[in-house]
């Protein structure tokens, strides 16, 4: 009886072995992914703003 119990416990222990997964894995911490591409109009406004800024600097100097 004692032997059977030991064997049973051992077999159960084997069956309870944590998953020996074939794949290792790990994840990164959170990061921000912003794939927004500026619209042409926004790019145009940006370019205009830069041009105005340059013009003002030249006028002031």
């Amino acid at each position: 009886m004692r032997t059977r119990t030991i064997l049973l416990l051992t077999v159960l222990a084997v069956c309870a072995v944590p998953c020996c997964a074939d794949w290792g894995q790990a994840a990164s911490p959170d990061f921000v992914l912003d794939t927004t591409v500026p619209e042409p109009a926004l790019l145009g406004l940006l370019a205009l703003g830069v041009a105005v800024k340059i013009f003002r600097v030249q006028v002031q100097s």
Partner: protein
């Protein structure tokens, strides 16, 4: 046997189970986004295989609650044949992948690595063969046709006896029923396994590893298939689950071809075969068989079966071993000799019904004709003979 001896044997087996599986580990994953929206992903990879690991990436846009694998624009230390080491690096060109929206404040990347599965890339291949005069033994292998497949992972090796019993023992303790299966040694392929048991084993392997099983007892896919013998239909399969499954016949053939075109065997350099390339029964009476005649003498000691340790011979172009010979490999599909004439051009999963399932690849006691990549064999799914084994695939 004395009590102490029995205990010693069992404990030794238990320790063996612990030590036999060396783990692949991924650590220190980081991601940095450049102004050009290119994400540099760094990680460390430790693996028993120094040279031949497969690395994949999945993405989460909800702080790790769920991950998906639809992104494909990666380069660098990703895909097949990645070496182990620290400071591995890949680039993800996020702009090239179509994401539902543009701004994700809590993105994560998960790096996966395996030394036992190979990535089979998406894309078309030529399946089957138009019968050549001296290859007329396979009228069911035509017509040659183009098949487009999604990418998938395939076991580099046939499932070994050791793998079979490790998963089977776990499964028996978790509600599964199986036939026995057998193998000449721990590193030899399992054999005498039915199609039913192989499919249930795939589910058990998935559950054991915490993955979503692919096979269910009915089309509503509510009950995982764990017991009895059921003739599953194609709609009993969750084809997008991340668990293990048998390859479809098309997946098997594409994988076996290893990226080569128009070749007879899994290798790309010659149209011949010899016992130095695969474990089969040599017969130099066949034009392309260089023999020598008979079984491979390297594997006859110890008696039947004359299987070889998995991975004994050189791999094919995708890094897969024993795609010719050793054991025939069960595929998912029902067998229909006329299937190629009407099969879907994209991701075919086989006929709707049938009486036999497909096997591929030849085995240790069969002539080279059956080891050709286009040859189709079929058997009733409950047959368990020394010829039959299998390997698994996973979706991305």
């Amino acid at each position: 046997m004395k009590t102490s001896s029995m205990i010693a044997v069992v404990v030794a087996l238990a320790l063996g189970a612990f030590t036999a599986v060396a783990a692949v580990t991924v650590t220190n994953v980081t991601a940095v986004v450049s102004p050009e929206k290119v994400v540099t992903i760094s990680y460390d990879l430790a693996s028993p295989s120094a040279l031949s690991n497969t690395v994949a990436v999945s993405i989460s846009t909800n702080a790790g609650a769920t991950f998906f694998s639809a992104c494909t624009n990666f380069s660098g230390d990703v895909g097949n044949n990645v070496t182990a080491g620290t400071g591995k690096q890949m680039l993800w060109n996020a702009l090239q992948d179509t994401l539902p929206t543009n701004n994700y404040p809590a993105t994560q990347v998960r790096v996966w690595a395996s030394d036992s599965m190979a990535l089979i890339p998406a894309g078309p291949f030529q399946m089957g063969t138009n019968n050549l005069p001296y290859e007329s033994q396979m009228p069911d292998a035509g017509p040659n046709h183009t098949v487009d497949l999604s990418a998938f992972y395939m076991d580099k090796y046939e499932v070994t006896s050791q793998q079979w019993f490790a998963v089977r023992n776990w499964a028996l303790a978790n509600g599964y029923t199986f036939g026995a299966g057998s193998g000449k040694a721990a590193t030899h392929p399992v054999q005498t396994v039915s199609w039913y048991d192989c499919v249930k084993w795939c589910n058990a392997r998935s559950e054991k590893e915490g993955l979503t099983p692919c096979y269910y007892t009915s089309a509503d896919q509510t009950q995982i298939w764990r017991i009895d013998q059921i003739n599953l239909s194609n709609d009993c399969v969750n084809w997008t689950a991340n668990g293990y499954r048998l390859p479809t016949e098309a997946e098997w053939e594409k994988a076996a071809r290893g990226g080569a075109v128009g070749m007879r065997f899994p290798w790309s350099d010659v149209q011949t075969i010899s016992l130095a390339q695969a474990n089969y029964y040599g017969n130099t009476g066949t034009a392309y068989d260089l023999g020598p005649d008979g079984n491979n003498p390297l594997f006859t000691p110890g008696g039947y079966p004359y299987t070889s340790p998995v991975g004994y011979f050189a791999p094919n172009g995708y890094g897969l071993y024993d795609m010719a010979g050793n054991v025939f490999e069960w595929c998912w599909d029902w067998y229909d000799e006329t299937y190629y004439a009407s099969s879907p051009a994209s991701n075919p999963t086989g006929p709707v019904t049938g009486t036999a399932r497909v096997l591929r690849g030849g085995y240790w006691d069969v002539h080279a004709t059956y080891c050709r990549v286009a040859v189709r064999l079929d058997s009733a799914p409950d047959v368990t003979i020394k010829d039959f084994g299998f390997r698994c695939v996973r979706g991305l």
